[in-house]
Amino acid sequence: MQRQWVGLFLLGVVSVLMVAALYLNVTVRAALAGREIQALREAIEENARLNADYEMQVAALTTSEAMRERARALGFAPARNEDLLFVTVNAYLPPQAVDLSIRETTQTAPLLRAEYTQSLVEWFAERMMQASAGR
């Protein structure tokens, strides 16, 4: 009889320890994911700044003045009308203004999956809800 009580007590302790270990594991993973997200946010900002800087660098290298200087250094001079030879090309379309549309659209899917935001209790409740709804 006493052994049964001891066995039951130990079973309870082991169960509590298992839940605690699982909870600790999930919590640690959530914390790590949280830190990673914070780092990724900073990386996104950093990349946005880098992108802007690179765009500025390209623009600085190709300014009107810079291009003219480069052309002059290469021996070119601004064209005059009498320098040009016009050729008739059927169905020629004159250059149009730029279209800066891009095909990719901004991603609107959630950044954080539920695994990183739910507590164990919430996860368990959700499973129960899903199980009861699916029955």
Binding site: R41, A59, D99
Partner: protein, 580 residues
């Protein structure tokens, strides 16, 4: 023996159970005490922070997609005052690299203001200096010398930047450190460029990290300006000011078919990267962009509008004869020609060709007040054009019934005296003559890029002040004077229409100056398929007071560059290739 000790075990068990219960009660008491609540309230602000995410300010491009305004990284250099270990090294570093006063920095580090834990030493520090400081921090982190930059904090952020410097500065405007756009496109479209900032609570506890809401990106703008045309026009304008000794000037190039501004140059020009020079460069009431913000009496460039109104009303025809006796009396005041001569029997084309004030004043009297002023209003005089740039002014068209209107104004207004307009008003009105009578809304916005999609601006018509027939008739009349190779506005190989203007400058209460003028020219082409209209205004040229000798050659230089940059072949090529 075991049974004999049983009661002792129970006592120990009881004591342990009591201790456990006491601990639980004590923990509960501590957690719910007033001190615990106060502590929680005190640390709450440090459990996270409210942070506002600003989308990077939208970029501005020319019509070919070349960047005119973008963003670059700069640094806020701050100091976490409680963390400072080596005030001398830190003050010396900031002094050497950022030009700060050593004593002031050192004193602030040693004796920070009461309650202050973070001090901004400098902001908008260029990236190269910021990176240099970062490298120094890395080097000193493990330095055996004991020197330390601990406490130094570098916070990168974006700042508006204009890679082309002064190019198109009068159109672009600038963004100051308060993040607001001033003048031009930056002010007009500030609400689009700045985007929608999002403020979120960011917990420090990674377990409580929340999803960052999507920050809608700010819109970028594509302008109608062509960078190469703008650069050419600015260069020509600057050379013209030097050559003719003019105080200031404006050149506008527009496509009259849709109102797109291809170039707009005005002086002086500010480098928007150094916008703090604004006050010194634009003293007093100097407008930032004279093309839209300075009204002046245009003189004879307004004559085509008078003639357009008269032709449209059927008051005169191109061949209508007029006997010019050198003077005409309007409202009891005699009006003479610019050369004080009589030119005898002339037709309307010659009137425009010789720019005869007497003839145009006579035409206006034939129209009468109602017809004349209705025509001027249809051309938009006295109203803003609605161009999408901040700071447009209206000019002034006095009307019969106004307190300061006198009957002689009908005569003087007909040749551009006593009426004030802005260059953008004049080019918009003349654009109607160049565009079959349709007056288009002048604009600099070509398209808006948002969410990866570009939406283009649809041209808008302001009205139709004259019929296509009148527009064509008048264009041919104006082309007659430029057909002559003696005109300094003549461009070899291209048929153009245009009109010079030389206007004396009014002195309030004292009439007009005799030796200072506003020299202007408006012209368009190539005929008959007009693709551009150019407006030139030189303020107070010194070498010659006449528009025909100053503004006209500037027009020619602009057109000579335009036909190359726009790829417009000479008439013989163009017209022969368009024939079936």
């Amino acid at each position: 023996m075991y049974a004999g000790y049983g009661w002792r075990y129970r006592i120990v068990q009881g004591i342990l159970a009591l201790l456990a219960a006491f601990n639980l009660i004590w923990v509960g008491r501590v957690q719910n005490s007033a001190e615990a609540q106060a502590l929680m309230e005190n640390v709450a602000p440090y459990s996270g922070r409210w942070r506002t995410y600003y989308p990077p300010r939208g970029e501005i491009y020319d019509r070919q997609g070349r960047l005119l305004a973008g963003n670059r990284t700069v640094y806020e250099v701050g100091v976490d005052l409680p963390s400072v270990r080596d005030a001398h090294t830190l003050a010396l570093t900031l002094s050497v690299n950022l030009g700060l006063d050593y004593a002031e920095v050192y004193n602030t580090l040693l004796h920070p203001p009461e309650g202050k834990i973070y001090w901004v030493a400098a902001d908008y520090v260029p990236a190269d200096k910021g990176n240099l400081l970062r490298n120094l921090m890395d080097e000193m982190e493990n330095s055996p010398s004991g020197q330390s930059l601990e406490g130094l904090i570098l916070r990168p952020h974006l700042q508006r930047s204009y890679p082309e410097g002064t190019l198109a500065a009068n159109v672009l405007g600038f963004v100051a450190r308060d993040g607001r756009g001033y003048f031009g496109v930056e002010e007009k479209y500030d609400h689009l460029l700045v985007g929608v900032p999002v403020t979120v609570w960011e917990p420090m506890d990674p377990n409580r990290v929340e999803e960052l809401p999507q920050i809608p990106p700010a819109a970028s703008l594509v302008l109608t300006l062509d960078r190469e045309i703008q650069a050419a026009v600015e260069e020509i304008l600057d050379e013209a000011l030097q050559e003719y000794g003019a105080e200031s000037g404006v050149i506008i190039v527009m496509d009259p078919r849709n109102g797109e501004i291809l170039a707009m140059a005005s002086t002086p020009r500010l480098n928007p990267n150094e916008y703090w020079n604004y006050a010194s460069l634009f003293p007093g009431e100097t407008p930032y962009n004279r093309a839209i913000s300075q009204a002046y009496e245009p003189g004879s460039v307004l004559k085509p509008l008078t003639m357009a109104g008269a032709l449209e009303a059927g008051v005169v025809q191109a061949g209508t004869r007029f006997l010019d006796l050198g003077s005409v009396v309007v409202g009891g005041v005699p009006i003479s020609n610019w050369d004080n001569r009589a030119h005898g029997d002339v037709d309307m084309t010659t009137c425009l060709q010789l720019s005869l004030n007497v003839c145009l004043a006579w035409v206006a009297t034939q129209m009468g007040n109602d017809v004349f002023y209705a025509a001027m209003q249809r051309f938009g005089l006295g109203h803003t054009t609605g161009i999408d740039l901040a700071g447009e002014v209206t000019g002034r068209l006095k009307l019969p019934g106004d307190a300061d209107w006198r009957p002689v104004e009908l005569g003087t207004n007909s040749f551009g005296q006593g009426v004030s307009v802005t260059p953008i008003q004049m080019i918009t009105a003349a654009g109607a003559i160049a565009n079959e009578g349709r007056m288009m809304l002048p604009h600099v916005l070509y398209g808006i890029v948002r969410d990866g999609k570009q939406r283009n601006f649809a041209p808008q018509m302001l009205g139709q002040p004259i019929s296509p027939t009148t527009a064509r008739t008048l264009t041919n009349m104006l082309a007659a004077s430029l057909d002559s190779e003696t005109s300094l506005a003549h461009v070899e190989g291209y048929r153009l229409a245009g009109k010079t203007g030389t206007a004396q400058i009014p002195i309030p209460g004292r009439g007009y100056t005799s030796d200072e003028t506003n020299a202007s020219f408006v012209g368009w082409g190539p005929l008959p398929d007009t693709r551009f209209i150019v407006y030139v205004w030189l303020e107070k040229p010194k070498t010659s007071i006449w528009g025909s000798e100053t503004a006209a050659p500037v027009f020619r230089r602009v057109v000579e560059r335009l036909v190359v940059l726009l790829g417009i072949p000479p008439d013989n090529v163009r017209l022969s290739s368009s024939r079936p």
